[in-house]
């Protein structure tokens, strides 16, 4: 459930509400950031910046435009992609170990007690290549529907329905 009351409190500058929301969202956002930058220290820095922005700009979140999770997601993806493009990152000549979130998940040694580790592992095992690509672009990289359709040379409507099927499978396995 989206915590509308907490979000309102956050927008009123309530630090406890902010901390509660941090508990609810930080780990999944950290996962997004980490899967993009693939460096724990940098991911931590970005996570910190992202939540500072959440605190400072909470007032600009508008539930008419979308989900609170989506709002933070956008901030996190933009910050991570900025990092990838930054001089610092290029100077490090960092070769990304993984192509996408699937490799990150496969290499992960940590499984949060917030996730169904078995469900996720099962999911990765059965995940179709097209689902990997769709979820990677749409969720982890923040591509729009249109950009994804162009990237994967797929009609717009197909992006929607295929992705739906990919997520349904995830939900199915997590619910088991």
């Amino acid at each position: 459930m989206q915590q509308d009351g907490l979000i309102l409190e956050l927008q009123n500058g309530n630090q406890r509400a902010f901390e509660r929301l941090y508990e609810l969202y930080s780990e999944s956002i950290f996962g997004i950031i980490y899967s993009i930058v693939q460096d724990e220290k940098i991911a931590e820095e970005i996570l910190q910046d992202v939540f500072l922005k959440v605190w400072d700009n909470a007032g600009s979140y508008n539930s008419d435009k979308g989900r609170f999770f989506t709002w933070i997601l956008n901030i996190a993806r933009n910050a991570s992609i900025d990092e990838l493009r930054s001089k610092r990152h290029k100077n490090k000549q960092k070769n990304l170990k993984a192509d996408n979130f699937v490799n990150v998940l496969e290499n992960s040694t940590h499984f949060s007690n917030r996730t169904d580790a078995i469900g996720i592992k099962k999911y990765i095992a059965v995940l179709k290549p097209v689902c990997k690509k769709l979820i990677d672009l749409l969720f982890f990289k923040g591509f729009t529907q249109k950009e994804t359709a162009e990237e994967l040379k797929m009609p717009l409507g197909t992006v929607k329905t295929r992705n739906r099927a990919c997520i349904n499978k995830l939900r199915e396995l997590l619910a088991e």
């Binding site: 996962g31 500072l52 979308g66 992960s108």
Partner: protein, 265 residues
């Protein structure tokens, strides 16, 4: 609207990703608020996606919250403190203002009361001063009278009541050297309004009355002692009641008192 079809279209997953255009997202947000079923579907999609990305996190970033907390308390408390302080200051300011006005009101009221009191005290003082002045005048007059009466040159002429007022009585103290006559009219009745007592010096043979003056302001004079000039060789004195302003000749029907001067010893 076919809710099942809407859900199965896959638009809700794109909505949670943030992959829709702004208009499309606004439309979905609007639909969500109207259809709890769709809203529930969005919650479930979001839950699944959160689990998926959480699985990609290398660890729970607990330390980061402490760092963020110190930054927001540092950055917030600095702008916040003066803010709350100014609020307090303005509250206190308003309260002080109010108190000041209440205080001023009471001060003004007190001031007005004091001013009124002061005015009434001034009036009292003026009255007392007047009384003192009056008393001093009276004392002065009394002293003069006493001096007159003690003078050896004085002759006392008692005037007895006549027909219109048998009970009336008056005394003339006549200083022949200074040609002054002091009339003590204490036992004369109050003259009716519009009338005045007129004092006459009389020669008896033949009877010749000469006016020596009026007992003017008879009612107002407490002592009822009147000083008149009398340069006549008086043989008797009489007092008649005359119309206001006095008369040329006495109205003998209104002769109140009469007395003869004792022969010089």
């Amino acid at each position: 609207m076919d809710i099942k079809e809407y859900i199965s279209s896959g638009i809700l997953e794109l909505y949670v990703y943030g992959a829709l255009t702004e208009e499309e997202s606004r439309e979905v947000s609007r639909v969500l608020k109207e259809h709890p079923e769709i809203s529930k579907e969005v919650e479930e999609i979001e839950q699944a996606l959160q689990e998926l990305s959480t699985a990609a996190a290398p660890y729970y970033p607990e330390d980061i919250l402490a760092r963020i907390r110190s930054k927001i308390t540092n950055s917030r408390t600095i702008p916040l403190k003066p803010k709350t302080r100014t609020n307090w200051v303005s509250y206190i300011g308003w309260a002080a203002c109010l108190l000041l006005f209440v205080g001023l009101f009471f001060l003004m009221r007190d001031n007005n009361q004091l001013r009124d009191q002061l005015n009434s005290e001034r009036v009292k003082v003026a009255q007392l001063e007047q009384q003192i002045a009056d008393a001093r005048n009276d004392a002065e007059k009394t002293r003069e009278l006493l001096a007159v009466l003690r003078s050896k040159n004085i002759s006392r002429v008692p005037l007895q009541g006549q027909a219109p007022a048998p009970e009336a009585y008056a005394t003339v103290y006549w200083n022949q050297q200074e040609n002054k006559a002091y009339i003590d009219g204490k036992d004369l009745p109050e003259p009716p309004s519009g009338m005045v007592y007129q004092v006459w010096s009389l020669k008896l043979d033949p009877l010749t009355p000469t006016s020596i003056g009026l007992l003017s302001e008879f009612q107002e004079d407490d002592n009822k002692i009147f000083t008149l000039d009398n340069a006549n060789e008086s043989e008797a004195f009489g007092i008649t009641l005359e119309p206001e302003g006095g008369s040329e000749t006495p109205n003998l029907e209104q002769l109140y008192v009469l007395g003869t001067v004792a022969a010089a010893p």
